[in-house]
Symmetry: C2
Subunit: 298 residues, 2 copies
């Protein structure tokens, strides 16, 4: 997905939120905002929004000298999610359609996105869980079940800390030997890194790799070669969250996107109301047979 | 009031709204947004927000070749307000405290601000009127009544088209020979100009002047000398709307501000919740005796 003009005021608002979270120094807030204004004035809008997100959060880390300003927030989100995990695991196990229930809870986990709102109350997470179990799912869980049954090499692209704990409910519904989970190569916003995959208990369950990138999404050109090979070789990709949708919606691969459509631009691109729980297959299901041949072109 | 960093994302969103209202040309939308990004990157935040508003709307008028893109919208707002005017006039006349009721209705009129939202449904105006009559007024109408009783030279600074029609309810409560109404010198957003004062029937009622400026507020340095003299000579100023508050909150003059606090930055500056109906006297009441002496310093 390209960057829409409507994304730009939102970049500025998010920049201000993020730099205020990283430091109390008001001069730094102003300096950061002016840098982002200069950069957005010249930006290539054919890039996806996470390219600007990557730039902004690198600037904030450089400016504040903090390599991981969201670390405490990530730990808190993981704890909140781990607290509710056992009850949700029972809920999935007792459900008539465990895969669909797990997808719904993975959507609920997607509220834990500190790029969209910088402070997130615990009750908001609990509300999202309750909502996700009741609200309609915009998507076909049976198609996902069928794709999973036919896949031998599933790449699960995680999104955020906290969220990755609820993702585990879905990952547990997949054949463990067929699944690889990918996290970010280094910190950006509250995106999950290897530390969060460990906190979620995923490293003991399935293979976990990192993508070598600090973009808040999956910009393939920015990922390392090992990740790109794994992406190309996967016969099914499950991608969580807005950032992965924004960066991979046009990728030539069979992808199921699972997200809460939190912003009007993405909701319009997906053709759904803001707030929808979305499970959406990419338009490239046919191209998924053996991806390793086309690796060189990625 | 200075420009807060939080105003900047809002400038961008308002710019996009405004240029889309003025033209369907998407290349122009992008060009305008990039110009505004460059300008805000370098802006002096000690200026009040309407200084940037003036710059943005000049750019839009130059870029589109439309000298008054909001003219149709202004006519519509005037018509909507004139339709409800007779019933509101009766309401004021039958009220236990006509001045306070008129102040409340003048606050309601302040929703007709197309700088804050570019499209405004008629029912939203009717809702605002109903709300204003019920909701608490954050301010002391008795202090205004007292100031009016003691004043011989009242300058009423109008804000927007449509709104100026409801302002007439309040202007009718003032001694007609003591009142001068000021409108903008030329079009900016949907701010009222002489044409709107005529549509509201004010020119037949009191003296109406224009301020010689196209800023969406009252930037004294940008107003013509005749207006500045009238401002300095007034022994009471009544200023409508956010733009006038933003530009005159630090002015050395006895001013009653009447507005709906529509944005979080202004609400914080006023110390009230967003959405409040505000009647607020400036801190400079003592300095109001004879202003003509200090004219040269303005």
């Amino acid at each position: 997905m390209k960057t829409f003009l409507d994304c730009i005021p939102c970049f500025l608002r998010q920049s201000l939120d993020a730099v205020r979270m990283a430091t109390d120094d008001e001069a730094a807030h102003e300096r950061l905002l002016r840098e982002v204004l200069r950069a957005t004035a010249e930006m290539d809008v054919r890039q996806s929004p996470p390219a600007m997100g990557q730039y902004i959060h690198r600037l904030i880390r450089n400016m504040t000298g903090r390599s991981d300003p969201y670390r405490q927030a990530k730990d808190r989100l993981n704890r909140v999610a781990l607290d509710i995990y056992p009850a949700l695991e029972e809920r999935v196990a007792g459900s008539a359609n465990p895969l669909e229930t797990a997808v719904r809870l993975a959507v609920a986990g997607n509220v834990m996105d500190l790029g969209v709102i910088s402070h997130l109350a615990e009750e908001r997470i609990l509300d999202a869980v309750a909502d996700a179990l009741e609200a309609p799912l915009d998507g076909d869980a049976a198609a996902l079940a069928e794709a999973v049954a036919g896949a031998t090499n599933i790449l699960f692209l995680a999104d955020n800390a906290g969220e990755i704990v609820l993702d585990r409910l879905l990952i547990e519904q997949l054949p463990p030997r067929a699944v690889t989970v990918a996290v970010k190569g280094s910190p950006v916003i509250n995106d999950a890194t290897m530390e969060d995959a460990e906190a979620a208990g995923l490293t003991a369950l399935v293979e976990v790799i990192d993508n070598g990138s600090d973009a808040p999404g999956t910009i393939l050109d920015d990922c390392d070669e090992a990740f790109r090979r794994r992406f190309a070789e996967a016969d099914l990709v499950i991608a969580k969250g807005q950032g992965n949708y924004e960066t991979l919606s046009d990728a030539d691969q069979d992808i199921f996107f699972i997200l809460k459509a939190k912003c009007p631009v993405i909701a319009r691109d997906l053709g759904c109301p803001v707030g929808s729980a979305v499970l959406r297959r990419s338009g490239h299901a046919e191209a998924s047979a053996d991806r390793s041949d086309s690796y060189a072109t990625i």
